[in-house]
Symmetry: C2
Subunit: 392 residues, 2 copies
């Protein structure tokens, strides 16, 4: 196993009506003037935003608001938020929403706390030296951004989608009320479950340094999400299933399920980022559409892990050769995707890239990872193109 650091300072306040605690938490972490950052109208329509501002008003905490965070959040809005924070003297960012609002808030936080262009951090040019504190009221279980060190931003010019990770960006608190996720469209719920599982699967399919305890936590988490995703497909208002998935979402991406390994593979995410940059598809659905092709392309190079995954997570029949078991596990994942109406290829995702577009995505993906990357199997541009083609 490899040495590792583990740092998850986010204070999680989990359960019904926990959003009522927002003012106390903001005060605990020193916020006096907030930017409340959210996405589309659902946070407004549901009345959540008003409940939050009423609570802040009652506590005498002042704030400005900035809506409009979209899936694959845009750099333009980040710049707008940075200017607004500077103009208004904001000292705390409150993200109300899912990964888009949180990622965007983190980027705004980096932009306020550091000189120069915030895109530099996403463009691998330099490291942030701080971040304005971020608090979260989570409304979508998916990205795990509420406890993670990472954020993903899309630069509109060239549709470049990039992630940046820094412990400075880890939220100070995360308010997690499973009831807030009940009004999500079924498709978004399924996308979230896919994303959650993928965050842990990316760490799991690695060729270096795996720890038994990390594996057992990862496998338990994956089984739980799989089971509860199927429950939610039939019963979206099931509180316990919502809660299981919501908490799994945080644990899947706060680092816990990667302790001791080489950092994981992450190529499914990288391949999807190019889809997301070019087509603005839902992240979870994009991951589902690409994963099977990735898995079949790489599994022979990481056979022991694919076999273990097949048996301990997908619980397939333990018979035949290692390859047969591994392939049975991959098929079982795709069957699971179909059961929750996730796509298993680009056509089902609703896109039909040309040869040139596939080549462009492979080229951008290779540039994005600095040439080649992967742990289950190191992929170069030609490999990436082959996987994109196989996923058509």
């Amino acid at each position: 196993m490899f040495d590792f650091n583990y740092f998850t300072p986010t204070k999680v306040v989990f359960g019904k009506n926990t959003e009522a605690k927002v003012a106390d938490l903001v005060k605990e972490f020193g916020g006096t003037k907030l930017l409340i950052h959210y996405g589309g109208g659902s946070v407004v329509r549901s009345g959540l935003l008003k409940r939050v501002t009423d609570t802040l008003d009652a506590a005498g905490i002042s704030y400005v608001t900035l809506g409009g965070a979209v899936p694959n959040p845009h750099l333009g809005l980040v710049y707008e938020g940075i200017e607004l924070c500077k103009k208004e003297g904001v000292d705390f960012l409150l993200a109300v929403g899912g990964g888009s609002a949180i990622d965007s808030a983190k980027a705004i936080g980096y932009g306020v706390a550091n000189e120069g262009d915030v895109w530099d951090f996403y463009d691998y040019k330099r490291q942030a030296k701080g971040c304005l504190p971020v608090g979260v009221i989570l409304t979508i279980a998916a990205t795990g951004s509420e406890m993670s060190d990472s954020s993903v931003i899309t630069k509109e010019d060239g549709l470049v989608k990039r992630g940046y990770s820094s412990d400075f960006g880890r939220p100070k608190f995360a308010i997690m009320n499973p009831e807030l996720t009940m009004t999500l469209p079924d498709y978004q719920t399924a996308c979230g479950c896919t994303d959650i599982m993928m965050h842990t699967m990316e760490r799991y399919f690695s060729n270096g340094g795996n720890m038994e305890i990390t594996d057992s936590l990862a496998e338990g988490l994956l089984r739980t999400v799989k089971k509860n995703a199927l429950i939610l497909y039939k019963d979206p208002k099931n509180y316990d299933a919502r809660a299981e998935v919501m908490w799994a979402g945080s644990l899947a991406h706060n680092g816990l399920t990667g302790c001791g390994n080489d950092g994981g593979d992450w190529m499914t995410h990288k391949l999807e980022h190019e889809l997301g940059g070019l087509y603005d598809v839902a992240h979870g659905a994009g991951l589902a559409a690409i994963w099977g092709s990735w898995a079949r392309y790489v599994y022979k190079n990481c056979l022991h892990r694919f076999k273990k995954f097949a048996l301990n997570v997908m619980e397939v029949e333990n018979s035949g050769s290692d390859e047969e078991i591994a392939l049975r596990g991959i098929e079982a994942v795709e069957d699971f995707y179909r059961q929750i109406e996730m796509p298993t290829n680009l056509r089902e995702l609703g896109i039909n890239p040309t040869e040139d577009e596939l080549a462009l995505m492979a080229k951008k993906c290779a540039i994005g990872v600095g040439g080649e990357k992967g742990s289950a199997k190191v992929l170069n541009e030609a490999d990436m193109l082959a996987i994109y083609k196989a996923s058509m």
Copy 2:
């Protein structure tokens, strides 16, 4: 499931030679004048203390030292540490050792950061409003105090052993090098594994609010420790097994394996605390000696959990009635204790209390928990006495 908070801010730096990073970590968390608190001579004899002070010297960080923390750490030494810190202007506590040194350092931290008698916190009289920051270099995998909010101190007058929990006491960082645990006597290694498992078992055997994901993490952790405890019994220098157990020790007690439940049972710990207060036995061995009697006394009141534990952790045969499966699981735990030479009753623990002493312990235990306590089954003084008697 129940609502919960989860807060584990400790920065974990895990792996070989990580103690070399101590000066950087102390600086990161603002320490300028340290009290280095440690236990017996092993930290001195092994050369670890010198390596640490050399690193601090090279970084220009000044410090004073206080050794002498013993298992079931004493209040007298805590008072001594508080005086020393005040006299020397200490602003950071570095615990080098196991749970005794860490718990004692936390208590010193409460004593320095709050007015009045520090014992008040352990005597349920009031809550701490802060704690001097604590950093840890861990040398024993057992108590989980390196990430937990709890510390246990014994007041010499009356041999009263009490725990106090506060988020203020959670260490800022924990340096965890599995190699540092390799020189432990085999008995202490086995005690540590027992304590680690018990921290999660106390949370697991509860009648309220269990979450599937918490259960799956707990079961995975318990299987991992059980397996690696047996490896270490035969091969104490096995680095990977040391690492598995060490990381499990932190996760077993940082709150992760109790999220969503009612807080757990904890009566085995409470019953052992009285043993530890009166006889100065090793904590882990005391837990092992009492657990089987506790389990047989309560299992019918928490049958579904004992059955699940038997199947998913102890992996016993799934046949017969629920009661038979549950009892098979309890027997399997005792068999496991015997395999690693842990006691399964007070006689094997090496003590032989009189009737009066048993009654005194039951009485003190009942007072300590405010009359009655437990989740698997609520126990009063008569129940406690019955369990003590059954464990003879």
